[in-house]
Every structure is written in C-alpha cells, then in structure tokens.
Amino acid sequence: MDEAIQQRLTAIFRTVFDEPDLQLRRAMTAHDVPAWDSLSHITLIVAVEREFRVRFTTAEVAALMNVGDLADQISKKLS
C-alpha cells in the first residue's frame, strides 16, 4: 500500500469508525472493525471521495474486498 495513501486512509477510517487507535492492514475487512457495516461503508466511501477528490462507481465499490483493494482503486484513479 502506498504510504501517503495509507496515512490519509488511516485518518479517514479513524474518524468514520470513531476508533482513534485503528491501524490499517491491506487484508483488513469489515469483519475486523465492529462499526464497519453497510451504513458506515457509504460514509467511508463518501469521505474517501472527498479526501482524494475521486469518484467511485457502484461496480467499483461492489468489487472492494478489503482495505488493500480500496487503496489500489484510489491509486489507480490518482495515476
């Protein structure tokens, strides 16, 4: 995971899920974060879109399996 993207993503995750000590891993999924459900998932996506000034499609969001996939998508859109 790109370090700059990881740092910015970590800040977003900590704010959205209200977990100040959360450490991101590529393999991390919704099962690893108690507050990460279908409602907060969209809040997370909106926060990511605002922070990185990118736009996801429904198909792209549906294909996200873990934090690593999200970071890769952001990286792809920024390049």
Binding site: D18, A35, S38, L39, H41, I42, I45, V46, F56, T57, T58, A59, V61, A62, A63
Partner: protein
C-alpha cells in the same frame, strides 16, 4: 410432494444415493434431474418456464462477460434483470388480483429469480466469473432443497462446491440428518403447537379481555421463527447430505438489541441480498443527499422486503412499521454509541431493555403480517389494553383438548434455541475422538429418530399445516 411426507424423505434418500454413487463429473447432472423431478411434482407446467429463464440468463451472463466494455453488455444486463423483476411482480400481482381465484404462484419464483439476478449483477460487476457449463448452472438455479423457501445462496458459494462434487463425508451426513430432525422438530413441536394458541387468540379477539390479543401478539413471532427457521434447517440439512453447505438464514434473531440488528439476524440471505443489490446501489446513488439519502435507502429497502412477501396492505403496514423504527434506529445510532461509551456500566441493562423493545417492535409489525385483515390487526392491538379479566377462562380454553398439548411448544422452543446455540458454537457433527461404541450409539439413535419421524408422517392422516414461508 410435501416436505413432511414419507415420499419426500424417500426422494431425498434416493437422490443422495444416486448423487454419491455417480462420478464427480456426473453429479451436477444427477442433481439437475432430481431438482427438476422435485419441481415437476409441484408445478410441472412451470418447469419449462424455469428452464427457459435459466437458459436465457446463462447465455446473457456469458455475453456480458465476453463483451465487457461494449455498450450492449450493460443494456443486456439491465434488460434481463428488469425482465426477471417484472416476472416476479407479474406473478405476485396476479396472485393478489385473482384473490383466491386459483392462481398458483410458481414454486420458488422469488428464490430462483433472486439467485439469477444476483448472478447476473455479479458477472456484470466482474465480481464472479460467468459459469461455462449449463448443467451445473441450471442445477444451482433449480437446487431443490432451497427452492421452497431459500436460503438464497450465491453462485460464488454454490458452484465451486458442486464443481468439486460436494464434500459428502460421514461428518456432514450426520450433521445433515441432525439438521433435518431439528427442522422438523421446530415445525411440528414448536410452530404447529404455537399456531393453535395464536389461532385461538385471533378467533377470540372480541372477548373483551386482553388475553387472546396478548397470546397472539407475543407468541406469533416465535411461531413464525420456528416455522421458517425449521424450513431453513431442513433445506440446509438436505444440502449437507449432498455434501453442499448452504448459507445460514438465522442467527438468534430474538437476541437482537435493536431493530437493525434484528434484520441482520433474520432471513439473513434475503437481507444481505437486498443490501448488496438494492441498498448499496441506492445508497451510492443518493450518497450526496445527506440524511435524506440514508432515509430513502432504508425505507425503499425495507418496503421491498415487505412487498416481496406479497402485494397486500398487511405486508405494506408490516414494512412501514419496520421502516419507521429502522430510520429512528440508524439516525440515533451514532449518538447512542457515544453515550454507551461514556456510560459502560449501563450497557448491560440497555442491551436487555433493547431486546425487550425490539421484540415488541417485531410483534407489532408481525401483527400486520399475520392478521387476516387491517380490522383484525386493529382489534388485536386495541385488545391489548382491555385488561386481564377472563384470564382464567381463556387459560382453561387453551389448555383444554384439543389444545392441551400446545403449551409443550414453549419448553420445546427453549430446547431448540439451546440446540441452535450449541450448533453455532460447536457444529452438529460427531465430536472427534469419540470411542467406537459412543459413535455407533449416536448414529443408531439418530437413525432411530429418523425412522420414527417417517412413521409419524405415515400415521398422520390429516393434512399438516403448510410452512408459512413456503407461500412466498
């Protein structure tokens, strides 16, 4: 072929034997023949429609995958998915409009169309590959144990298992038989006995006492849960006999401390289906609307769950009650969580209070689900405040023959909930390392119980209550 019949048990046994004796490559063919054979015993005239729809979706998915990026591919997805939605809507509407005029909804129409829609959307989004072989795909769509009331299994879970020929070892067979027995126990001992008491309540709503209303109000959710989860247990148990593990449909829903949590534990394969294919796309489309987008997504999602059961005012009211409380729940969730973090000492009490409140919301919404009419629902709810006079009389009636055995349902429910809790924690297979005599004793007891159940089916001359969710 009713599930609670010796014919069904024999059909399952013969299908499983044929499946297991076949070479791995031939097993999808056996399962396909068995599934269509089962379907024809219910709806022979609609088996052709099932096959036609399956073939269309099979080729549509192959085309969508091979033509990704071309403008026609998304149009094909939209056209086929819209066609499937219209197909369900048309049947449900016909059933309502005919109002008992002899229209029979094709068996499993809601379940197999949902399987097909999810498959097509997954292929369209590129999250699953299109199945190359028609036979396993058709066996997935028509898989007979899940045809009557789900669970709604995804292609990505089912097809790899079938491709491997199923994992039909002794452990899964034992677990499958246990699961089938548990399902029939839930249906015949818990649900059917509670139905006697709930029906009594509905027949005596005008008695001037709150007892009939309270009995129906508080016991119907348990009756419905035992009935539906029993059906799911039978479906999953039969699947295990083929060596195919299906998705769980329930996770102790009455332990939920909020209505959102309840819906994550009840009919889980339907709610997760709607989450992935309705709620998420809708939420993505409305994500810039703020709170209004959230409310619209929650309400639309819940109302779709409601009308999925049928186009009646009762189901609409069922959805409206749930949607109202769900909106309140999601809008206050963040504040409540912050409050409980500041007051962790109160959390335990709040969880218990939450469970009680949630059960009341569920009972309220399911009153509209069960009541024959709006007027009956209103009489039942009005009757709750009528006072406890006549309690002794009502009790005497519901404990007199022919209902005198009905109350066995309550301890039996505690027993099945305990069995389910153990199953979730440890599974239902034989514990490893058991001595030979204990293993054989357990297998013999299980076989004896199964034969006893079959004999009971034979002895039951009168028709049994149909499974509630077999109607959807």
């Amino acid at each position: 072929m009713p599930l609670s019949s010796v014919e069904f048990l024999l059909f399952v046994a013969l299908s499983v034997i044929a499946f297991r004796l076949s070479p791995r490559r031939g097993r999808p063919h056996v399962l396909l023949v068995a599934s269509y054979g089962f379907y024809c015993t219910w709806n022979p005239q609609m088996a052709g429609a099932l096959l036609g729809i399956t073939v269309v979706c099979y080729y549509a998915a192959l085309y969508v995958e091979s033509s990704r990026g071309r403008p026609l591919a998304p149009r094909i997805t939209v056209a086929v998915v819209s066609g499937l939605i219209l197909y369900i809507v048309a049947w449900k509407a016909r059933a309502v409009l005919s109002s008992g005029g002899g229209i029979v909804i094709p068996l499993g129409v809601s379940y197999y169309t949902f399987r097909l829609i999810s498959y097509l959307l997954d292929v369209h989004w590129g999250t699953v590959p299109a199945e190359r072989s028609l036979v396993p795909f058709a066996a997935y769509v028509a898989f007979f144990p899940q045809m009557m009331a789900g669970p709604i299994e995804r292609a990505s879970s089912f097809l790899p298992q079938l491709g491997a020929g199923g994992t039909a070892d002794r452990g899964r067979t034992f677990e499958g038989v246990m699961r089938i027995l548990l399902g029939f126990f839930k249906k015949f001992v818990v649900a059917d006995n509670l139905a006697l008491i709930v029906d009594y309540g509905y027949r005596h709503l005008g008695s001037g006492s709150s007892v009939p209303s309270a009995l129906s109000f508080y016991l119907y959710p348990v009756q419905l849960y035992a009935d539906f989860s029993g059906l799911a247990d039978i479906a999953l148990g039969v699947g295990l006999l083929f060596g195919l593990k299906g998705p769980e449909n329930f996770d102790a829903p009455f332990s939920a401390s909020s209505i959102s949590e309840y819906w994550r534990r009840w009919h889980m394969t339907l709610t997760s289906w709607l989450r992935d294919y309705v709620f998420m796309p809708l939420r993505m489309a409305t994500r810039t609307w703020g709170t209004a987008g959230l409310i619209v997504s929650v309400v639309v999602n819940m109302m779709l769950i409601a009308v999925w059961h049928g186009f009646t005012l009762g189901f609409v009211a069922f959805g409206a009650v749930n949607a109202t409380f769900l909106v309140v729940d999601v809008l206050t969730s963040a504040r409540r969580q912050k409050f409980w973090r500041r007051h962790p000492g109160l959390l335990r009490a709040a969880t218990i209070v939450g469970m009680i409140v949630t059960y009341h919301i569920v009972s309220l919404s399911e009153t509209f689900f069960r009541a024959p009419s709006f007027a009956d629902a209103a009489r039942l709810l009005g009757g709750l405040g009528a006072g406890l006079h006549g309690f002794g009389e009502a009790l005497a009636v519901v404990t007199a023959p022919p209902n005198h055995y009905a109350w066995i349902a309550l301890p039996a429910f505690v027993l099945t909930e305990t069995a389910d809790a153990v199953r979730r924690r440890r599974g239902m297979g034989l514990p490893a390392g058991l001595p030979r005599w204990a293993r054989w004793s357990a297998v013999t007891c299980l076989a004896g119980a199964f034969v006893f159940m079959a004999l009971l089916f034979l002895a039951r001359k009168s028709a049994t209550n149909p499974f509630v969710y077999a109607n959807f």
